[in-house]
Symmetry: C2
Subunit: 321 residues, 2 copies
Amino acid sequence: MRALVFDSGIRLADVDEPRRGANDALLRVRLAGICNTDLEITRGYMDFRGTLGHELVADVLEADDDAWVGARVCAEINFACGECPSCEAGLGRHCPTRRVMGILGAPGCFAERVVVPQANLHRVPDHVRDEAAVFAEPLAAAFEVVEQVEPSIGERALVVGDGKLGLLCAMVLKSEGLATTLVGRHARKRAIAEASGVHAFAPELLQEGDFDLVVEATGQASGLSWSMERVRPRGTLALKSTFHGDLKLDTAKLVIDEITLLGSRCGSFERALAALSAGTVDPTPLIDAVHPLSDGVEAMARASAHGSLKHLLDARLEVGA
Amino acid sequence: MRALVFDSGIRLADVDEPRRGANDALLRVRLAGICNTDLEITRGYMDFRGTLGHELVADVLEADDDAWVGARVCAEINFACGECPSCEAGLGRHCPTRRVMGILGAPGCFAERVVVPQANLHRVPDHVRDEAAVFAEPLAAAFEVVEQVEPSIGERALVVGDGKLGLLCAMVLKSEGLATTLVGRHARKRAIAEASGVHAFAPELLQEGDFDLVVEATGQASGLSWSMERVRPRGTLALKSTFHGDLKLDTAKLVIDEITLLGSRCGSFERALAALSAGTVDPTPLIDAVHPLSDGVEAMARASAHGSLKHLLDARLEVGA
């Protein structure tokens, strides 16, 4: 079958069919989303080699439990062992021997078909379109901040960065009842935030400081200290960006103001799918283009261009899919 | 009166008597403790100039409320405005216009007498010796970690650094029922921790990782990344050290493992004095020497020597005190 593979470079390849093991499900991919993590991987992050991709909506072709067959699903990306102390504590996303779809030790979903543990499946409500459901994974990551911080309604939140994850975080915080501001450099992206009821400014025009919660989602090394300056004493700075390398940190500010700096990664699919189902968050304005999987190399280039938002790969457009 | 002053250098000076304003209390200092922050100030931290010192036990000479006069007290170091949103939220320690005794805009207690807001006073239980009560402020800072994290009994804690604050943090975590380990380079200091029931090792001999809570108290720039590697996924790293400058931070570890990096500073005197009163924490083994205030320059040099612990200044030994 066809797949978008990263090894020495990014290329469309003809790869072996994925093999379904015990407790696995075989999925036929409908849509897959290109994430900044995919782009970071092509720059060396995680030393991953193989089929990229971890955001998908798909149909179940085969599963141990017949009830799943034919279902339209999203899938959690961390493949946990299910038996270690982390897994037993309900933290399979932190299982030390986990594989991660398209990121660590498991083929990704930029392919016609992909295998995931059956336990990772989430059924997509019928009225949620594919183009929304494919956002379940990054939207879950945005909800993770809310799950970790448990902010109160009316608290003041600032999202720094108007990229895909920044916009999703702003939409989620707004949907949870926070007074939400976003700063970013692109008028087009700020307009998407504003359409969701988020206040949006160019960074230099932000007059307020002292936010209860600041979400750093710039993907830029300079974002951390800029964000830290906007957190109130005893407030929280959630760090969503993964970087390849070290960042500088002003520890005097952190200690004196007793800031909580929170690393935040993957989140709960339940809340993401519930928000999509209820319509409280609509991520589809983030879609820049849908490309056939066979144009994946070009799609990755487009996704990495300055100012781009979400590029989707449609695996159903393939001949023979 | 005599005071230990930092301006171009550290010197014993004859300074004006402190003036008691409305709502203030005038204290006669019994003992004052030299803290690493005092040493950092002499290296440029906070740009403070004036009488140093913020750890004390003292007698109340004058106060608006006669009930305080004659009481033996400790005093909180943050002088808050009492009227701003931070103060109204009970976070006077983060009042943006606060002065801080011997650190920011207020004369310190390395002097015969000092003025503090009456609201900052805490009565010392009669059976708590001066040599223990003078630790109320750093002990409160150690309790702050417990107040912020609210760990459960039996959780596994690691304190990195066997300096004064590290030892106090280890004693506090142990007294709160955590399985507590300390790493440090000095056999003498590790022995103090071990006498409190804390497991203590040289850093290279620590075999365990995956601690629920790690407290970074080395005061060394290299301590942060070393400590971060010992936190379990979703665990907490509390940063007690203030540095003059930036630190490097591996954000991939922070984000992927969803570590909470917590800045932690001053804490509740109530809990500190309650622990001293109950005898659940005994800081007095940390005392290296008690010096007359007039030997303060020498005492500061001794306190800054490699491997030293707590040096106290006794203001009662002064002629004319």
